[in-house]
Structures are given as C-alpha cells and as structure tokens.
Assembly symmetry: C2
Homo-oligomer: 483 residues x 2
C-alpha cells in the first residue's frame, strides 16, 4: 500500500476514532449479541483476492462493532475498567507504525532507555524504594509468574532452572484466600503445582491473617517441604482487600521467603500520598507489580513490574544464543532477559505520553475523583433500603447485594442477585461483574473509566434499584423497568 | 482530553506516520547512538504538571527517534524483519481506541469470534489439519511454553498442574541443536530444567537427525526418566534448517511424545503450496506455531498457535474464580484459558485486515517475492570471490562469511566477520545480525521487510563487499569505503 493511500485511510480512521470516543456513551456497554451471532457474519474461507480498506472498514462497522463490549464506556463498571486515554491512544499509533521490537538495547536503544526511565518515574510516583529496577510486562499474571521463578531460583540456589523442580523437595507458596487466580495459574505454569499454594484465610477486612501464614509456613517446613514465596495482595480483585504488608514482610524475612506484592489494580492509587499506608513494610519486598493499564490512563497492555534484585530474575530467564548477542554486550540492559516472551512491543512510549501529558498532579486528581465517586456511591447504597454492602468499599471498588426485607434464604438471595446482574448487563445501560464474598454471590461496581462522571454513577444506581424489585419474587409484581 | 483535541492531534500524527513510512529509507537502519545517549536527554523525575501533546511529540521527534532502530526500513535484514504493513497499522489504531480485553467471550464477543475465524482462515491458508483449533499468543516463546505445559499435563495425567513437577520423575524434552532459545527458556520457566532438554545433533542440512532422537529417547527411558515432548523446528533461527517432520512424527507416535512444531518464521511461507514439503507428517502433530508478525505483513505482536487437542491445553491453564465467570458459561470459548496472561489485546482485528486486504494470492506473492530476492542474492554471493555461504539458503534467509584467499585461521576469519558486521551496522546503511554455524561466526541476511526491493539487496551486497576488504588485515591497505 502506498503511503498516500495509507494517509487517506488513516485520516478517515482518526475521524471515526474521535467520533467513537465522543459518542461511545450512546452504545450499549456490553455487546448485545448471542454466541455465534458474529461468527455467522464471517466468511468460512479466506478471500483469494484482496479488497480495498474501505470495504473492510464497512464490514468492521457493520459486522464486528455490534459484537464489541465497550471498555471505554463511562458506564463500564465490570472487572477493572480499561484506561485507553487519548494520549495513550496517540502513543499507540506511533508504536504501531514504528513496529520496533524492544527485545534488546540494540534493537531499539530508545525503547530500552525510555523504559528504564519511565519505570524510574513510576517508582518515584508510587513511593517504592529507590533500589528497585523495573520491567514492563504485558500483564500482572506474567509479572507474578516471573516472581515465582525468581523465588524458585533463590530457594534452590539456581537448581530449579538447570536441574528442574523434579530434583527438589516440593516448594510451597503462600497467598490469601482472596488472592487473584493468576497466582494459581502461575503455580501450574511454573511446575510448582496448585496443591502447593496455601490459601491463607482472611480477617473481617478480607486481609491475610499473618499469624495463620506463620503457622502454615512452620507446618510445611516441619513436613519437609521448602517454603519459597509469599504473595501479598494490595487490593484483591473481588472486594479490594489490602493484606498487612508489614506483618507479612516480617514473616518473609524471618522465613527467608521471596516476597512478591500484587497491587495490579490498587497500585495506581499510590500516586496519592494519602493511600500509601498500605506500603508500610515495602522496604522488605522482593518484587512489586501494578498495572497502569488498569487505573493510570494507559492503554492495555502495560504492567509495571519492580524488582529489588533484578540479577535474580535475569538468572531465572536468561538464555543467550549467538544470534541474539549484540555489540553492546553487557554494557546495556536487554529487557528480553526480564520477561518470558522474547519479543517486546514499545510499551514505554505510551507511559511516557501519559505521565508527561497529565503530570503527577493530574494523575492524582484522576485517582481522587474516582475514589470520591465511589465514596458517594457507598453512601447511596447505605441509604437504599433492601441493599447492603457486601464488603467495605476499597478505594474506587464497591461490592453490594440486593437483600430485600422478608427474604432470609441465602440461596434465594444469591439467585436474586444473579438475576439482577444478568438484567443490568443484558440491558446495555451499564456493565458490572460478579464476585463471591465469603461464598455468597455479590455484584462488583468498579469505577475507573476515564470518562465516568457523577451522573453515570447516579444513573446506574437508579437503574439497579429499579431492576432489583423485578428480581424479588416476594415483591408485589413490579412492571418493566420504566424511566 | 476532549475528543476534538484528540482528533486534531491524531490527524497530525497520521501525517507524520505516512511521511515516516514514505521516507524511512532515508534514516540509518540501526540507531546511531551509544549506551546512555537517550537516557541523558530524559528528565530524572516525572513532571508535576501536565504538558500539551505537541510538546511531547516534539520531544519524541528530537530525543527519542534518533534512538530508534527502524524495523520497517527496507534495508533491515537482521533477526527476522518486522511486518507492520499499512493495513495492520490501521487495524492497530482501531484496537487502541477500542481498548477491549479479549480475555473472555463476554468481554468482547466479536474479539473472540473473529479470533476463532481468522485462525481458521490461517489454518486453511498454511495447510494444517482441519481438526486444529487456534489461539493468538503474543510470541512463539509463549506458544512453546504452552506446548510444554500441555505435554506435562498429558504425560503426568494432570499431576504436573496439581501436584507439581517435584512429585514426578524428571521429564525430558527433545529438540535439535539448532532449535530456538525459547525452548531453553520454556524449560526454565516450566520448571522442567535446562538439563532435561536434549539437543539432538543435526545433519549437513542443519536438520535434526531422527535416529539420534530415537536413541536419546530410548536411553532416557532406560534411565528411568519420562520423555514428554519433542519440538520440531521448521526454519531454525540461525540458518533456516528444516527438521524432518515425518520421521520425527513417527518417533513421537511410537514413544507417545507430545509433538510441537516451531515454525515461527518459516510457517508464513506455507501459504505457498510449493513450500509445503516440510509439512509431511503434520497429521501427527500436537501443536504448531508460526508468527504472522514475522513474515505475513502483520504488526507485532501476533503469534498463531494451533493445537490438535485444545482441551489438554485448557486443562493445563484453566483457573475459574467467581469474578471471571460469565453468563455464557461453557457455551463459548474464553481465550484466557489458552494462554498464560489473563488479559488479551484484540489482536485478531489486524489479522483480519491483513488477510482481507491482501487476499491469499497477495500474501503468496509477498512471500514469493522475498524468496526470489534471496535466491538472487545467493547467486550473487556464490559469484563474489572471498565470500562463501555459511549454510544453504533457506527460503528468504541467507547466511554467509567473508573468507578471503590466503586467510586460513578460523579464529582470524571469525574476527574479520565480526568486524564486518560491526561496520555494516555502525554505518546505518543496512542492519544484519550474527549467528554461529557449527561454532563459527557468520552473518545472517533475512529478507522480509514489506518494502524491501531488489535495489536494496543489491545496495547492501555492494556495501558489504566494499567494507569487507577493510576488515582483512592481509589485504593491501584499502581506503575508506568509497562509492
């Protein structure tokens, strides 16, 4: 394709993109399609001959877009909302056209040195120790996997990587019962085995109970197992629980455990000093991950992974065939030795755009605004008869249940809440996701989309309260949700 | 940022992007900077207050761009060139603005169903069995890791994931001595251990010797180890060696080994029927990966991973916490269960744009053109005194050495070739990368950038031959490289 043809199409795409951002609110949040609806519109065989971009774009609008769930919608409250801010989209455009692979310093010196620098900025912004080095991973799942590998490297004195885990006693890992499923997956991927992950019970605030952790480590050691790693979570996925880092760090030091902190979502809030209580004990931490793509206005994917002893990570991951050696040798950082995939996109560029465009003050305001909206919603829920908080609000995450007077059966309440979530999401006005709190079904409402304003939170709450009555078989028959 | 502000900036970026593509040839291929040159230009601390995009963009052009190695340059011949074709850049723009996470069907039904369909297209295009299901991974490294996990799952009857590898005899894996370093890395990451990877010697064509493989498996079994997986490579990184798939498949079936095929680069060539000899035996294969981002005009990252029994992969990778369960349940594919990271970009969109825009015929022409250029270069090298092919040409990959008359010492020849590569890359006219062939240094010239034409190959060869004389201490003192 000639560059002038590209130019014309790209300008047209930009107008569509700007219109999309301006009007995404008019679309249903969750795609309103059934399984197979989109597949039916797609040819079974690849085209023999090429088509003009304009035809492909028309098919995109007509056939693909109705099947897209709109993660940038201001009433997207499911999971943790995505953060494709305009500055990060602009940076992604440059990343796409450069198409560089930041696997080694030489294959993009600027990509490497910018990655080092923006991670140093981020480290300062969230209050991590100066000695930490960083690497951008695709996701917190990958960072956690790397942390597990570094732990294996340390506790086996390097034998895990060379001789394999079969040569060792079983290694054990500890995390709270509320920890993210990526720890489970990491156990499976690293060959450690799910059964060797100890899920430590939590207290009334959904935080890991350190005395149970200490006891569990002791018991495993007595049983001849090799305790290797503890994962502390700052901001669990279901309810935003904050593990007591200082207490865990004390145990980790005493027991010589690798201490990894999963702050995938809540870590972004650390740009505000007032949320840094959770960092007490961070001086003892071995690695720390949070996702600017979750709550720091940066396009997916971009996970910031900080490590106290990067040499340990590099020992766990470095392979150096002749075809990857470069003239700069050991004088430079080759980021490929800090992550599982060899190839790496130029992700630092969007972080640089975001931090420079918003500035630290702007990013603080962004976090505080969302926390404020969640605080208002929390008050609203407390004042709405028939609704209860399922757990204390955590930063911008609120979990709740519909529990109308006169319904006591826990299973019936679960069922009503399942129905309520389904109705909310089917309607397209808003999108929430489920969770379990102490084994019972609850709704999660995570505020984090860049364009979410007070009105959107009020709208969704009014909508939920109207739909709720329809989910209560004991209620006087309510009509369809009106306006 | 207001959508109108975004619109204005994005239009300006598009003009820069089109100009970049039109004139990238005028830039030095490899960045002409020394370690630290870029870092020095970047502030040590993040800005407190935000800046307009235009200032950031000026800094990008002034401070970042000189440190970028230009992977889209028509004289980029290092590694395997990147393939950021204009249609795939256009698709990346849409992907960036949508910012969807394709982790589950519900979080983007179109993302999921399009991924399924374009992978089915690709499967047909490269001649893989109809029963294969697909998943897009970020890189072949990740696909290979997943293959190793599926092998562990199979050979231990699921115990690897639940009880961990410490509960088992050591598992062994087999690949050729020329195999990619990602297999080594996968052994380290999966907890299998580097020492349990058997590097099987190759024949004169750099292809795995099946009789040595069979013997190695037998020996390990006799020693009480558990042979689990063999990785066949179609197109090794250093010289493009093609392993004898049919023979390996025969051994894999007999020995009940998981058979993974790494065709990361050469797999794209399979869109042309005339290159499908290497697929003999593919009916026995368990998984197969190739990277459209290497040679099929698709922006990095995009790795197509095909699997015969996807349920096995899913058993090795599925975790299912309440907060990830969706209303569609088991009626749909949730791609998060086929890869290590939970979050997933909408990568199918660019594949769809590329396949529809070029069509199968267009993609075949693209591959054939590059192979033709490499064939011409091969003839040119044969006809250039003082130069030898280091290995037979493989598709569009040529490896060679400078070996002037009168120099017999192998170490001296290595040294001259190291110097030659350094001079080529330092000059900025072209970019090549190194390799070792039977332990001796050689230069790799991989043709694959979308805009590479005959003139670029002729230019680089003339340049290399001129520079070579300067690297030969025995030659009559040659002046600086002239025209």
């Amino acid at each position: 394709m000639e560059s002038e043809t590209f130019r014309a199409h790209a300008h047209a795409f930009v107008d569509w993109m700007a219109d999309y951002l301006a009007h995404v609110e008019r679309r249903p949040v969750r795609a309103q399609v059934r399984p197979g609806d989109i597949a039916r519109l797609l040819a079974a065989e690849p085209p023999a001959h090429g088509e003009p971009i304009s035809d492909i774009f028309s098919a995109f609008e007509r056939d693909i877009l109705p099947g897209v769930t709109h993660w940038q919608h201001p009433r997207f409250f499911a999971y943790f909302p995505a953060n494709a801010s305009p500055p990060s989209v602009l940076a992604e455009m440059l990343t796409a056209v450069l198409g560089v692979n930041c696997m080694a310093w030489e294959t993009s010196p600027a990509g490497t040195e910018l990655e080092t620098r923006v991670l140093a900025w981020l480290r300062q912004m969230v209050g991590l120790p100066e000695s930490f080095e960083g690497v951008i991973q695709d996701s917190a799942s990958s960072a956690t996997l790397v942390a597990l590998l570094a732990a294996c490297e340390r506790v086996t004195g390097g034998a895990a990587g060379t001789r394999g885990l079969a040569a060792n006693r079983a290694l054990t890992v500890y995390a709270s019962a509320e920890t993210h499923s990526s720890i489970d997956k990491g156990m499976m991927v690293a060959g450690l085995g799910l059964e060797n992950l100890r899920k430590i019970p939590t207290d009334s605030k959904f935080a890991l109970r350190p005395e149970v952790l200490a006891e569990s480590v002791r018991r495993d050691r007595d049983a001849g197992l090799l305790p290797a790693c503890v994962v502390a979570t700052l901001g669990t996925t279901a309810v935003g629980g904050i593990d007591p880092l200082a207490d865990i760090a004390e145990i980790a030091r005493r027991e010589r455990l690798y201490l990894h902190v999963d702050a995938a979502w809540a870590g972004s809030a650390l740009v505000c000093e007032e949320f840094r209580d959770m960092l007490a004990g961070v001086g003892e931490v071995d690695s720390f991950v949070f996702n600017p793509h979750k709550w720091l206005l940066t396009n997916f994917d971009c996970s910031a992974h900080f490590v106290r002893d990067m040499a340990e990570v590099e020992r766990a991951l470095t392979v150096s065939p002749a075809y990857l050696r470069t003239a700069a040798g050991d004088r430079v950082v080759d980021y490929r030795n800090r992550s599982v995939p060899l190839g790496r996109r130029f992700r630092a560029l969007k972080l640089w755009f975001v931090i420079r465009h918003y500035g630290v003050v702007g990013l603080q305001a962004h976090i505080r605004r969302h926390v404020g909206l969640a605080r208002d919603l929390e008050a609203r829920i407390r004042n709405t008869p028939g609704f209860v908080l399922a757990a204390p609000r955590s930063l911008s995450l609120v979990t709740f249940r519909y529990r109308p007077d006169g319904v006591a059966d826990a299973e019936a309440i679960d069922q009503m809440n399942r129905q309520l979530l389904a109705r909310v999401n089917e309607g397209g006005l808003a999108y929430l996701s489920p969770c379990e709190v102490r084994g019972r079904f609850a709704l999660r409402l995570a505020i984090g989309a860049p364009e979410t304003q007070e009105q959107h939170v009020i709208e969704v709450w009014d909508h939920i309260t109207r739909l709720a009555a329809q989910c209560n078989p004991a209620a006087p028959s309510a009509g369809p949700a009106g306006t």
